[in-house]
């Protein structure tokens, strides 16, 4: 398994270089270093000299990809793409173009994101699996048909509607919890109830339908018939046999998102005033802060790769037939 993990990590290097280059090209196709300087220096009374100073201070006065004026290896190293990328590979994110330490900001903002994402994942998982098993238990009955209709309807509704509707009903009309805001520490709970609840509810439609499909596929297999023939109760069949054998596709969906949980959700955090990472990248794009954009894209790619490796490892834990070679 170790050889497999090492091989996967080595594969990750060209992927990360590619992601980084792509981010670089896409960003600088839209924004030039001069544009970035103007955005950071403001719109009024900006002089050419001030723009040059800003660029020089942050290393944006170099050529983008190839430095024809330099000699030897410096033709490649004395460029914006090299200077801005190389430190990412040792996870040194440096400072944003506005001057703030990116690593520190990430470490501060990931916790509120996690405070929403983790309960939504866990509660959602438990609820959706339980509900899916219930539907499967009552398959081909009115409860099954009714549930499918309800789930399709829930899937069809935009996530934004759940947020606005939830804020309107629970925060504005019933006055039960704050409509938005956040407090650190234990005081956070009353601000988290509403976004977590909405996160869980908005995920029920798609999640439960997906698990229902998995369980229905499993329930028609021979080992289930054998279990029933042995006289096991339906609950035991479902929870001990069907659920365990359906874990692989469930794990595929769950483990891969685990590392990404702290990246947050843009819309949820914006509407609920949660100081998480959800808006960090979007704000950076609108502020033309390349340092943050490249750091967050790189981090996202790293976490996704980690998620995929974790998924592969988890297969071996739930299915003894799987061997990583």
């Amino acid at each position: 398994m170790i050889a497999y993990i090492v091989r996967r990590l080595l594969y990750a290097i060209p992927i990360l270089i590619g992601v980084n280059l792509l981010t670089f090209v896409l960003f600088f196709v839209v924004n030039s270093p001069d544009d970035m300087a103007r955005m950071h220096l403001g719109e009024k009374r900006v002089t050419t000299e001030a723009i040059q100073n800003w660029k020089a201070e942050r290393g944006y006065d170099r050529p983008l990809l190839y430095n024809a004026e330099a000699d030897g290896i410096a033709r490649v190293t004395e460029t914006i793409v090299f200077q801005k990328s190389i430190k990412l590979f040792v996870f040194h994110f440096g400072s944003s173009d506005a001057g703030r330490d990116i690593g520190y900001d990430i470490s501060q903002r990931m916790w509120p994101s996690l405070a929403i994402a983790l309960p939504v994942l866990v509660i959602g998982l438990v609820f959706n699996i339980s509900y899916a098993l219930l539907i499967v238990f009552f398959r081909a009955t009115y409860l099954d048909w009714g549930s499918v209709v309800l789930l399709v309807a829930m899937m069809s509704i935009s996530g934004l509607f759940y947020i606005i509707g939830g804020q309107f009903l629970i925060g504005k009309l019933w006055h039960l919890v704050p409509i938005s805001g956040y407090d650190p520490g234990l005081n956070a709970w009353k601000f988290l109830i509403l976004p977590v609840m909405i996160g869980v509810i908005s995920g029920i439609g798609a999640g439960t339908r997906w698990y229902r499909t998995l369980f229905l596929e499993e329930i028609s297999r021979d080992y289930v018939r054998t279990a029933r023939a042995k006289g096991l109760s339906e609950q035991v069949v479902l929870f001990r046999h069907v659920l365990r054998n359906a874990l692989i596709p469930i794990l595929t969906g769950v483990v891969v998102v685990l590392p990404l949980l702290f990246m947050g959700s843009l819309i949820t955090e914006s509407f609920f005033g949660i100081p998480g990472l959800g808006s960090y990248t979007i704000d950076a794009i609108s502020n033309q802060d390349f340092a943050i954009v490249r750091a967050m894209v790189f981090l996202g790619a790293v976490l996704y790769i980690i998620g995929l490796i974790l998924t592969d490892i988890s297969y071996t834990l739930v299915d003894p037939r799987v061997r990583l070679g």
Binding site: V30, S32, D35, R38, H40, L41, G42, K44, R45, V46, T47, T48, E49, A50, N53, A56, E57, A98, G99, R100, D101, Y104, R109, I123, L134, F137, F138, L143, I164, Q167, L169, I170, G171, K172, W174, H175, L176, V177, P178, I179, S180, D183, N187, W189, K190, F191, I193, V196, M197, V200, E234, Q235, S270, F271, F272, G273, P275, S279, N287, Q288
Partner: protein, 711 residues
């Protein structure tokens, strides 16, 4: 289930369940407000935006400020003892009388006396050890192990404000690493500023502490400390508008200790910078800066004290705004500004009583405001029932549709182009624009000068006769037929170029991002279609749009300007030739250039407010109206709502340091919050009941299945 758990927990405490604040603060004089965009800069040398000034102006004290109540806007001392009078000198350094001709004036000296006894807010940069050394000026990495934010430094100190702190800040404005947006402007005006900037450029790449040492030692010939509480600034020539700059945070005093403290290795990596943690002498200090969540201002314990103004306008005597005259400031102990990116939660929390004041988003406008038969805006019944009050005022800003005067078709000084621009000015109905896209929150601009700025004229004398006529006591836009006649005279009958026989097509440069933009652009297209002109929308991103304006490759564009200070010079310079965007990288985005206008502008900017200046401004406005480089557009109106417990709210578009005047009645607020937010529980029980009703049959079926036999 989740809801029930939450409800059980939320039920604890006496405050409303949905309060976003701590119960302990309910009775405190805490002002609650919100912000939508995090401030980019809190360094007074860099900050140049109204959003940032909302915080900075409460913390820093430049020499001057605007009087809270008097109009027209008037400068009064803040950290200075008096508003300085300029002393004019000739090239030989001899004094000149105040009415000396501008050409004879080589220098203007401003001597500023600083109020004695002003102390800086408590700050670790000023903390000293028992033997008098600065406690945190030689930090090592071990000292920083437990430091994450500024408040982690246990000791703080203060010292008296001196003239040297003002001089140091002016030198900071010259330092290239400070990136002050007004460095270019000050190079032209402050004697020795350019030399200092050039000298400091050599240190740009040096380590931060070395740069600061160089900055402290470098002299600036035009700015001198005279004594502990007096300093002077020497300007090149005459620049009366300089006094207004002395009321902006750029000129707020900065202790050198702060720069040295923040420059130490390890602090920037912890985001502890001057751009994040200000140090001022004002009524408030920033005690929490988490712009992703909230910013908290607290009373500065060392504030030197100031009194609520005793003089105001005649209306102020009866309105109650002078009830606190002579009272010590500030009234509010703490101000909490929460980040609210979305309009819906911000507006809801205002209606629930959790924000003390609010603007009005377009979506909520009809809920808050109704227009009476006379066209006046008033609060709806729902707002009045809650005791909410409305304050409106015209902003010192202008939004206009600019013609690129370098364009061969629409620009230039030819009569043909001028007539074409005037015809378009009549056709583009900005009254309709304000009504549709701004909920009526705007005042049609008849010239570049908004109301409240010297030179603006009201009534019939103030209308733009090329676009409006005075009928029945009000200005009325000229009829479309008149515009069509102008089109014929310009050689474009019905929008057809008589020379080529082709339909006239113009390009409009736009930054369009959403559906709202599309509606606005469609509206604009229809305005031009009235004259048979095809308007081609060239939509692009903001960077390319700016580039087109900088290089003068566009034809038509929408642009705006928000005044730095309440002087006609700050608006009319937008049409001043030597300030043209393409040639001089100035703020004249239309690239308008008229020698007579430029000559008169040069005269006007040196004149004192009075009949002579008014006459010159009238002529300037007349020239601009005749040449029509802009469609004058509109001056936005700001609408703000205030709860009944927030007192002394008064519109002042120039002053940003108005938090200190505001007063609160927390008991009234708490009572209102309780009344307006009673928890409604029946839906929770109903939902719980429905869930039980759903589960029971399932449970019953499970039981039945388990007990049933196969045969």
């Amino acid at each position: 289930m989740l809801g029930l758990v939450a409800l059980a927990l939320t039920g604890c405490g006496e405050s409303a369940w949905n309060t976003p604040y701590l119960a302990a603060d309910a009775q405190a004089t805490v002002y609650y407000s919100s912000f939508a965009e995090r401030p980019k800069h809190l360094d007074p040398a860099r900050s140049y935006s109204a959003d940032e000034y909302a915080f900075l102006a409460q913390i820093y004290e430049p020499p001057l400020q605007y009087h809270f109540l008097l109009r027209p806007y008037r400068l009064v001392p803040l950290s200075a003892a008096a508003v300085p009078e300029p002393r004019y000198l000739d090239a030989a350094g001899q004094s000149l009388p105040n009415d000396a001709p501008v050409a004879a004036i080589a220098y203007s000296d401003y001597v500023i006396h600083v109020q004695p006894g002003i102390q800086f807010q408590p700050h670790p940069a000023l903390a000293r050890t028992d033997d008098g050394h600065y406690r945190y000026h030689t930090l090592h990495s071990d000292d920083l192990a437990a430091i994450q934010r500024l408040t982690d430094f246990t000791a703080t100190g203060t010292r008296e404000l001196t003239a040297a702190d003002f001089v140091y800040q002016i030198k900071r404005l010259a330092a290239p690493w400070t990136h002050s947006p007004i460095a270019g402007l000050l190079r032209e005006h402050i004697d020795g500023f350019a030399d200092l900037a050039d000298q400091l450029a050599a240190y740009h790449a040096q380590p931060a502490l070395e740069r600061i040492a160089a900055l402290r030692q470098a002299p600036i010939s035009g700015v001198k400390v005279i004594d502990n509480h007096t300093f002077s600034i020497r300007l090149k020539g005459k620049y009366p508008q300089f006094l207004y700059w002395l009321a902006m945070p750029f000129f707020a005093p900065m202790p050198w200790e702060a720069d040295v403290f923040y420059a130490q290795p390890g602090l920037t990596e912890r985001n502890i910078t001057l751009d994040w943690y200000p140090i001022g002498t004002g009524p408030y200090q920033l005690t929490e800066n988490d712009p992703n969540r909230r910013l908290v201002l607290e009373r500065n314990p060392y504030f030197h004290g100031e009194r609520y103004p005793s003089d105001g306008m005649p209306d102020d005597q009866t309105s109650g705004i002078l009830a606190d005259a002579g009272q010590p400031l500030p009234f509010i102990d703490r101000a909490i500004y929460s980040l609210e990116k979305e309009d819906i939660p911000r507006w809801t929390k205002f209606l629930q009583g959790y924000y003390d004041a609010s603007g009005i988003a377009s979506d909520a406008f009809d809920q808050a405001i109704q227009i009476d038969a006379a066209g006046e805006s008033m609060l709806t019944e729902q707002m009045r029932e809650r005791g909410i009050s409305l304050l409106t005022s015209v902003e010192p800003s202008i939004y206009y549709l600019g013609f690129n005067m370098l364009d061969p078709v629409i620009g230039g000084d030819s009569e043909r182009a001028r007539l074409l621009r005037r015809a378009i000015s009549i056709a583009v109905d900005f009254e309709e624009f304000i009504s549709i896209f701004s909920n009526g929150r705007g005042l049609i601009a008849q010239s570049p000068l908004p109301p409240g700025i010297f030179g603006h004229r009201d009534g019939e004398a103030g209308i733009n006769p090329f676009v409006y006529e005075w009928r029945a006591g009000r200005p009325e836009r000229r009829r479309l037929e008149e515009a069509q006649v102008l089109m014929e005279q310009a050689g474009y009958p019905n929008g057809i170029d008589s020379a080529t026989g082709q339909a006239l097509s113009l390009n409009y440069e736009a930054v369009a991002t959403g559906p709202d933009d599309r509606a606005r652009l469609n509206w604009l297209r229809k305005q031009f279609a009235k004259l048979g002109i095809e308007l081609v929308i060239r939509s692009t991103d903001y960077n390319r749009f700016q580039e087109k304006i900088r290089t003068g490759t566009g034809q038509l564009f929408m642009w705006g300007w928000n005044a730095d200070y309440p002087d006609p010079e700050n608006f009319l310079f937008l049409l001043y030739g030597p300030n043209a965007k393409v040639k001089h990288q100035g703020e004249n985005a239309a690239n308008y250039s008229n020698p007579e206008f430029d000559r008169l502008f040069d005269t006007m900017k040196y004149l004192e407010d009075g009949p002579e200046r008014q006459a010159v401004i009238d002529r300037l406005v007349e020239i601009a109206r005749r040449d029509a480089p802009w469609i004058w557009g509109f001056h936005p109106k700001s609408f703000s709502l205030h709860h009944r417990w927030l007192l002394n709210a008064h519109p002042n578009q120039m002053a940003n340091n108005t938090l200190k005047y505001r007063r609160l009645d927390p008991a009234q607020r708490q009572a209102a919050q309780r009344d307006w937010n009673p928890p409604i529980l029946w839906p929770v029980w109903a939902i719980g009941g429905i869930c039980v009703l759903c589960v029971l049959p399932a449970w019953w079926m499970v039981r039945r299945r388990e007990r049933s036999t196969a045969l």
